[in-house]
Subunit: 348 residues, 3 copies
C-alpha cells in the first residue's frame, strides 16, 4: 500500500519536518531502510543512522534534536516506538481488510448466505447451505464445502479448502492452501491383506481467533468433531489427525504432527517437527522441544525433549554422556584390563 | 445431508417408535449426541444413555425393552450395530457420490474425454488429451494435466493437481491440495558451484483403490514411472520422491518421506514422520515406528524403531540404558576410584 | 508430446534405419522401454537389449554394427549418449515452454502488466500492480498477489500462491501448491494466556534460477525480507520461516524446516526432514544429514548428523556404542561384582 507522509503524520498525530508529499509503501529498520520506506528512531544507540538513512521518512520522539544534517523527512511524535507500533497495526489492518467486494467469475450456491462487507474473489467456490459471516475475506481459489459455517472477520487466503459440514469461528486466519476437514486416515485391515476405508463422517470445529498456517491439514473426525479451540495458533505444514482436540491458546510450530484422538491441553508450546502418538493426553502448559516424539501423555508443566521424549534435564544429562560414549566405553575396557591383572592378588 | 427418520428406518428395514418426520443430519455417540444426530445402542453397558440422550433418534435391537422413559425416537432393527454400520456406509456413499454434473465456468480441452455420471466442478481444469472415466468426481480448482488418464469412480478433492502424462487408476481418492507428478528433485552440480536441473521426463502411475492424503506430494520419475500400487494408503503431507515404487496394500502415516528410487514392499506399515533414504529396498511386511530413519533396506517382517533404525527390541534395550547413562557414568567413575585404591595390593 | 522418428533424427543430426514415420511420445531405458518410446545404446553391455527391445526407436553410435536381427528403428548419431541428453533437454524445454497464450476465464487486475509470450491459464488470478516478465508460464489456479514482481522465464505450476509484495526472479520454477509470502509465525503472549498476532509486513525475495518444490512454504519477513538467493533448490514440503536467508546454490531436501531469522550460507547441502532452530548461522558448505536437528550454528565445511547434531565421525562413534549399550551396562555390572569380591584383599 502507498501512503503519503502527510497521511502517516495525521494517522500518528505527528508533525512533519521535510517533504510531506512523498509516498512510502513499506517499512524498514533504520539501518537498512531504502527509498519508499518509513522507519523509526527510539533507541539513542541508533541515532547515527538518522543522518545516513535512505528511508523516505523516520518517526522520532518530539524531543529529538539532530546533531548533524539529514536527508530524510522527520515525523515527530510523543513516543516514536509506540507510534511505529500503531503504524504497523494500521498497515496490518489495511493489508488484511482492504479487500472488499465480489470478483467474477466466482461460484456461490443459491442456498449459501454471506454477511456484509465480504470479499469474495474470482474462482472462489462456496457450496450449498454454507453460511458466511460479516467482513469475511475469501481469496482466490478458496473452496468452502456444503453446509460450512464461517464466523465474522475470518480470512481465508488463496487456495484454502474447507470440506463439507465444518465450522469455523470468528477472527480466524487460514493461510494459503491449508486444508480443513479432509478424511481421517482410517482403514480396516481385511483378510486378504487389503484395507477397507472406514467412513469418516465427522467434521472439524475451529473456534474463534485461531490461526492455521499455510499447507497445514486438519482432518475431520471419524465420528463427532476434531476441535481446535479458541486462540490456538498452528504454524505451516502441520498435521492434525481425526478426533484430535487442541485446547485454547496452545501454539504449535511448523511440521509438527498429531495422531488420531490425542488431546492437547491449554497453553502448551509444541516445537517444530514434533510427533505425538495417537490417543494420548498432553496436559496443560506442556512444553515440547523441536523434533521430540511422544508416545505417552504428560503432566501439567512438563518440559520435554528428545524422541522418545524425556524430562528436559534428564535428557540433557543422558545426551551429554551419549556424546562421550566412546570414551566411556574405553574406560570400561581399561577397567576390565586392570581387573584381569588382579587375579594373583585375589588368590593371595 | 439431511434425511428424515422415516427414510432412515426404510433404509435399514426398521420400525419407528416416536416422531418419524424429524430430520437427522449427522451421527454421534449415544453419550454425546445432540439434536439432529442419530445414534445407536448395541452394548447393554450404554443402555442408561438411551434415557438421557439428546440424539433425535437411536437405533436399537428389535428386542430392546426400555426400563425408563425416553425422549428420543427409537428405530428398531434386527441388529443395531450392523444397521448403524450400514447407515455409515450409506452416508459415506452419499457424501462421496452425490455430486454429479458440470458447474460453470470449468475448463476442459476439446481433445479431453470424460465418462458418464461425472462431477466437474467450477474452476476445475482438464488439459488436452486427458481421459476421465465414469463416475469420477472432480472438485473445484482441480487441475488435470495434458494426457492424464483417470479410471472409474475416482475422487479428486478440491485443489488436487495432476501433472501431464500421469496415470491414475479406479476407485482412488486424492485429498485436497495433493500433488501428483511434480518434478523429481534432480540437479547436477556444475563446476561453478551452481546446479543444473536434470530433465524429469517420467510420470507417476497410481493403481486402483489408492488413497492419497491432503497436501501429499508424489513426484514423477526422472525417466520411467514412480509407481503407487493397488490398495496403498498414504496419509497427509507425505513426500514420495522420483522413481519410488510402493507395492500393494502398504500404508504410510502422515509426514513420512521416501527418497528417490527406494522400493517399498507389500503390506508394510510405515509410521508418521518416518524418513527413508534413497535407493534402498524395504521388504514386504516391514513395520517402521514413527520418526524412525532408515539408511538401508530391511528383511521381511522387520519391526524397526529409532533414527537410525534398529530392531525394535534392541532399540528398546539401548534406549533404556540411554535413560540411565548419567548413572552408568557415575558407576564407572566409582569403579575407577576403587581400582585406584588397589595399587598397593597389586604391588603386594 | 508426440514426435515422429524423422523429426527426432533431424533434431539430433542422425540417420535412420527403419520406419521413420512412426511416432514416439516418451523415453525409456532400453531394457524396459515399450512401444512409442525412444531409447539409446551407449554402453556395449546393453547391446543385447537392442535385439529384443520394444522401443519404437533406439539411438546408437554411428559405428554400431548389429550382430543379430532387430525389430526397432535405429537412429545413428556421432555419440548416442550425448544425443540422448540433447533429446531429454529438448523434451524438457518443450514440456515447460510449449504453453503459450491466455485461457479464459482468467483474472488480471487492470493495473497489472505482463510481458511477451506468456501463458496465463484459466482460473489464474493476478492482483493489482503485479509485473510479470516475458515467457512466464502461469498454470491454472495460480494466485499472484498485489504488487508482486516476477522475472522472465519463470514457471508457476498449478495452484501456486504468491502473497502481495513478493519479488520472484528470472528462470525460477515454483511447483504445484507451493506458497510464497504467507505470514510469519509471530505471536506475542498476553497476560491472560492468549496470543496477539504480530503484524507481518515484510515480504519474500526469490532471486534468479531458484526452484521451489510442491507444497513448500516460504513465509514473509516480519519486517524486511525473507531471501532465497540465486540458484537455491528447495525440494517439496519444506518450511522456510520469516526472515530466513538462504545464500546461493544451497540445496535442501524434502520436509526440511528452517526456523525464523536463521541464515544459511552458500553451497550447503541439507538433508530431508532436517530441522534448524531460529536465529542461527549455518556456514558455507555445511552438509547436514537427514533428520538432523541443529540448535546452534556451524563452521564452514562442517558435516553433521543426528538430533541434536554432532560432527559426523563423533556421532558415528557414539552411535556405535549406543547400539551396544546393554552389553556395556552388563560389563559394568560384572566389574562391580568383581570389585566387591576384592575387599578382603584390600584389608590385607
Amino acid at each position: 500500500m502507498k501512503i503519503s507522509i502527510a497521511q502517516v503524520a495525521q494517522l500518528l498525530g505527528g508533525t512533519i519536518e521535510g517533504n510531506e508529499t512523498n509516498e512510502v509503501w513499506s517499512v524498514g529498520k533504520i539501518e537498512e531502510a531504502h527509498e519508499g520506506q518509513i522507519s523509526f528512531l527510539s533507541n539513542p544507540k541508533y541515532e547515527e543512522f538518522v543522518y545516513s538513512t535512505n528511508a523516505s521518512a523516520v518517526i522520532v520522539n518530539k524531543t529529538f534534536s539532530p546533531k548533524k544534517d539529514y536527508h530524510t523527512t522527520l515525523i515527530r511524535v510523543e513516543d516514536a516506538y509506540i507510534a511505529f507500533t500503531m503504524l504497523l497495526e494500521h498497515y496490518d489492518k489495511v493489508k488484511n481488510f482492504s479487500k472488499v467486494g465480489i470478483e467474477e467469475p466466482s461460484y456461490i450456491h443459491e442456498t449459501a448466505t454471506t454477511g456484509e462487507n465480504i470479499y469474495r474473489a474470482a474462482f472462489s467456490h462456496i457450496g450449498s447451505g454454507a453460511k458466511i459471516g460479516n467482513n469475511v475475506k475469501i481469496y482466490p481459489q478458496v473452496q468452502i464445502g456444503d453446509n460450512v459455517t464461517i464466523g465474522d472477520n475470518t480470512i481465508l487466503y488463496a487456495g484454502v479448502k474447507v470440506y463439507a459440514d465444518c465450522v469455523i469461528g470468528s477472527g480466524c486466519t487460514l493461510h494459503a492452501n491449508s486444508v480443513v476437514g479432509s478424511d481421517g486416515f482410517g482403514f480396516a485391515p481385511q483378510k486378504d491383506g487389503s484395507y477397507k476405508s472406514i467412513p469418516q463422517i465427522g467434521n472439524v470445529i475451529i473456534k474463534n481467533n485461531v490461526s492455521i498456517g499455510a499447507n497445514t491439514v486438519v482432518d475431520c473426525a471419524t465420528m463427532g468433531s476434531t476441535i481446535i479451540h479458541e486462540g490456538v495458533k498452528l504454524d505451516n505444514l502441520i498435521q492434525i489427525a481425526h478426533n484430535v482436540e487442541v485446547e485454547k491458546n496452545t501454539v504449535m510450530a511448523a511440521q509438527a504432527g498429531v495422531s488420531g484422538s490425542t488431546k492437547i491441553g491449554e497453553n502448551c508450546i509444541i516445537g517444530g517437527q514434533v510427533g505425538l502418538a495417537g490417543h494420548i493426553n498432553i496436559a496443560n502448559k506442556t512444553t515440547i522441544g523441536a523434533q521430540a516424539g511422544l508416545g505417552k501423555g504428560t503432566k501439567e508443566g512438563d518440559v520435554l525433549l528428545g524422541s522418545p521424549a524425556m524430562a528436559k534435564l534428564s535428557y540433557a544429562k543422558s545426551l551429554s554422556v551419549f556424546k562421550k560414549l566412546p570414551e566411556l566405553q574405553k574406560r570400561v575396557n581399561e577397567l576390565e584390563e586392570k581387573i584381569v591383572n588382579l587375579p594373583t592378588i585375589q588368590e593371595g
